[in-house]
Structure formats: structure tokens, C-alpha cells
């Protein structure tokens, strides 16, 4: 059982070479981060419009 797991793990490692891994991380990682942050910026822009700042909030 242990040997099988070790073997399986080795096989998974062997399937993805460093080049594929690196390129995937750069593309999906950078793309995912910027898309998520872009989505958050849109959402927060909408929230700002939905709940506008009121002068009375000053000093609270």
C-alpha cells in the first residue's frame, strides 16, 4: 500500500515537468490574481455606489 502510494506520487511528479509547472503558475497565478483583484475592484465600486458616503457620517 505504501509502495503503491509512493509509486503513484512519483508518477504524478513525473507527469508534470518543471517547465509546464512554471508556465502554468506564471499564467494562471498572475492571471488569477489580477482577475480576482479586478473583480473585487468592480464589486467595491458597486458597493460604493449602493451605499454612498453621507456627510453625517463625519465624526462617527
Amino acid at each position: 500500500m505504501v509502495v503503491y502510494r509512493k509509486g503513484l506520487k512519483f508518477q504524478e511528479e513525473a507527469e508534470m515537468d518543471n517547465w509546464t509547472f512554471g508556465i502554468t503558475m506564471v499564467v494562471v497565478g498572475m492571471g488569477g490574481t489580477i482577475l480576482t483583484m479586478w473583480g473585487l475592484s468592480l464589486l467595491m465600486g458597486l458597493l460604493k455606489k449602493a451605499f454612498p458616503y453621507k456627510k453625517e457620517e463625519e465624526g462617527k
Binding site: F21, I23, G29, G32, L40, S41, M44, K48, Y53
Partner: protein
């Protein structure tokens, strides 16, 4: 009786006899960290406990990092379980005002661009022959965020923890020295003079309260593996903005953060055993960490230039360099550089927006990275 006396005397010199050549070197390094913290005021809250932990662990035969040693107990309780960085994050969330970021949500993008160094350095580390998870831990130095770097490296590359955390905190404190030449090289004098005007107060309390909830839910759904990081920083911020749990907020930003910083620092120092630390690998980690911070700055400034074009020249690209997590140093650097070329230029609040965006961005980038790794079956 004579033999007993000799054995007894040997017990007193056994520490000297057992010294490895690397131990005195590391004691010297520990003293250097103490000097930087005490004399130069560089991140003293961290460098003092790290430096002292480094000295402690390099005194042979004390067994402080062996099973039941007190440093091992602290390490196992807070680093191995990843609790210390998460507690620190609650404090950071409680201390951070995301108002300047929410005034201009576009600046979120600068916080994302400032994290590109993580992924580019990861690729570079792979090219230099590091394993996948080692490369991940090295890349995360580019988050410029100590707790995130510790969280990721302690989980996936614990043997690199000391090098990664020392690099992360050292380069964070060196941001005022590392960034200005890059900012100057990548921008024209006209760009550095751009005046962005004053930041208006336009964010309601409701929006500020909803912000941590939205980031937690959306970020958690996109990158669930990073939810501990996101959730803790946002919990701290929700407590701050809600204004109804001031005791918890104060405890998070003072007592809890202080106690955990002490234990975190001494635990990191305790991983700096000379036999493991003084290797070519550590030197490479330190070099790659430096590259990561430089790449963050380059990507941030270049993205700032892009925003300048898209906004019709209203954005000063210097604030792009503040899109990293080193808060508030990076924002102060942008302000200082801007004022050098236009004394009437007050970029600080805009740069603070980018800087807090960098805090969210660094956590988000780490969360995305962990989820992509999980998706690929690497972790």
C-alpha cells in the same frame, strides 16, 4: 575520584568541544541582526527576537530545538500549526485602514501587479533547479509579507523557513533602499511630477464594513486554500470597522500581535541552526528573494504607467511601486520620490491606497497560488 573530577570538568568544556565551525558564524549573524534591530532600528520587533533565537540555537548541547526543548515547543505550537502567522494577520487587519484603497477601487489592480514578482521568481527558482514546492516558498518572498511567507514556507518547505523568513523581513525593511533606483529608472521626470490631487473622503461606513465580508467570501470561493490568510486579516478589519468590539480590536493589534510577534521571532531564529542555514541554498534563496522584490517593483511601476495612459495622465506611476505589502514603508517611498520632483505633490494617500491594495494582493496571490497548486495536484 580523579576520573570523576576529569569527567565533571569535561562537562564544563563540552559546549566548546562540540562547537561546529558554523555555530560561531551564526552567533555572529545573530549579533548582526540584533545590531540592525537595536542600533539601526530596522524592524526591531522582529530582528531582536530572531537574532536572539539564532544565538540560542547555535549554542551546542542545550537541546533547545530537540524534542521537549522550549524553542521546539514554541515552534511546534505556533509555526508547525501555522497559528502564529494567522494571529499576526488578525492584528494586521485590525491595524489597517483600507479607506484610501476603497476611495479609488481601481488601485486594487496595482496591488495585484505588485505581486507578479512572486510568480516570476517561482519560475526563476524552478529554472535554477529548485523543486516545485521549494520554488513556491522562494517565490512567496515576493509577497513582501512576512506572515504570508512564513505560512507558505512552514507548510510546504519547512527546511527553507529560516532563509525565506529572514529574506522576507530583511528585504521588507530594505524597501526604502531597493525601490527608488528602480522607480527612477522606469519613469520619466514628467511622470514623477504628476499631481494626483487630494483624496476625497467618499467611503461610507457600510462599505467599509462590507469590504472584509466581500473579500472573504469572494476570495475564499476563488482560492479556498488561502482562506485562513484571507479570513484572519479580514476578521481583524471587520472588528476594526464595525466599531463595536473595540476591546477585541485593541487586543488584536496590541497584546495578541505583540505576544505572537515575540514567539514568532524567537521560533524563526530557532530554525537558524548553522549546520542547516549556512548552505549555498540559503544564499540562493536570499538572492532570489532580492530579485522577487525588484520584480514586484518593476511590475508595479509598469502597471502604474499603464494606468496613467488609461486614465489620461491622471495617475502618477510612482504609486505603482507601493502596490506591495510592505506597509507603510512602500507608500512613504512613493511620497518621498514624488516630492523630490514636485514639492507640491502629495501622493501619500494615493500610495497608501496602493499599499493596502498590496496587502490584500499579497494574501490573494498566495491564496491563488495555493489553490492552483491544489488544482494541479502538487499539494
Amino acid at each position: 575520584m580523579f576520573e570523576a573530577i576529569v569527567n565533571g570538568l569535561y562537562g564544563l568544556i563540552a559546549g566548546f568541544v562540540s562547537l561546529h565551525w558554523s555555530n560561531p558564524v551564526m552567533v555572529g549573524l545573530g549579533c548582526l541582526l540584533l545590531y540592525l534591530g537595536i542600533k539601526k532600528g530596522i524592524e526591531p520587533l522582529l530582528l531582536v527576537p530572531i537574532g536572539f533565537g539564532c544565538i540560542l540555537v547555535n549554542i551546542p548541547l542545550a537541546g533547545l530545538m530537540e524534542e521537549d526543548g522550549f524553542l521546539r515547543t514554541i515552534y511546534d505550537a505556533g509555526i508547525a500549526t501555522e497559528l502564529f502567522p494567522l494571529f499576526i494577520f488578525i492584528g494586521i487587519g485590525a491595524m489597517t485602514d483600507f479607506g484610501p484603497l476603497l476611495e479609488n477601487p481601481r488601485i486594487f489592480l496595482l496591488g495585484a501587479a505588485g505581486q507578479f514578482g512572486i510568480f516570476l521568481t517561482l519560475a526563476l527558482a524552478l529554472a535554477l533547479g529548485f523543486s516545485k514546492l521549494d520554488a513556491v516558498a522562494i517565490g512567496v518572498i515576493g509577497a513582501c509579507d512576512g506572515p504570508t511567507a512564513i505560512y507558505v514556507s512552514s507548510k510546504y518547505a519547512p527546511h527553507l523557513l529560516s532563509a525565506v523568513s529572514v529574506a522576507a523581513y530583511s528585504y521588507m525593511s530594505l524597501v526604502p533602499i531597493i525601490q527608488p533606483p528602480i522607480m527612477k529608472f522606469l519613469t520619466t521626470e514628467e511622470e514623477r511630477k504628476i499631481n494626483m490631487g487630494a483624496v476625497k473622503k467618499t467611503v461610507s461606513k457600510t462599505t467599509k464594513i462590507l469590504f472584509p465580508l466581500v473579500v472573504t467570501v469572494i476570495g475564499g470561493l476563488i482560492a479556498p486554500k488561502g482562506l485562513p490568510l484571507l479570513g484572519t486579516i479580514m476578521l481583524g478589519n471587520l472588528m476594526r470597522e464595525s466599531g463595536v468590539v473595540s476591546r477585541l480590536t485593541k487586543a488584536s493589534e496590541n497584546e495578541i500581535a505583540n505576544i505572537v510577534t515575540l514567539l514568532l521571532g524567537i521560533s524563526i531564529g530557532a530554525t537558524m541552526d548553522g549546520r542547516n542555514f549556512l548552505t549555498p541554498q540559503t544564499l540562493m534563496v536570499l538572492c532570489l528573494g532580492f530579485v522577487a522584490i525588484c520584480l514586484d517593483t518593476v511590475c508595479g511601476v509598469m502597471f502604474g504607467k499603464l494606468l496613467k495612459v488609461l486614465s489620461g495622465g491622471k495617475v502618477n506611476p510612482l504609486i505603482g511601486a507601493a502596490g506591495i505589502s510592505a506597509y507603510p514603508m512602500a507608500a512613504r517611498v512613493a511620497q518621498r520620490e514624488g516630492q523630490k520632483y514636485n514639492p507640491k505633490n502629495f501622493l501619500l494617500m494615493h500610495a497608501m491606497g496602493a499599499n493596502t491594495g498590496g496587502q490584500v494582493g499579497s494574501v490573494m496571490a498566495a491564496a491563488v497560488m495555493l489553490s492552483v497548486l491544489k488544482g494541479m495536484g502538487v499539494i
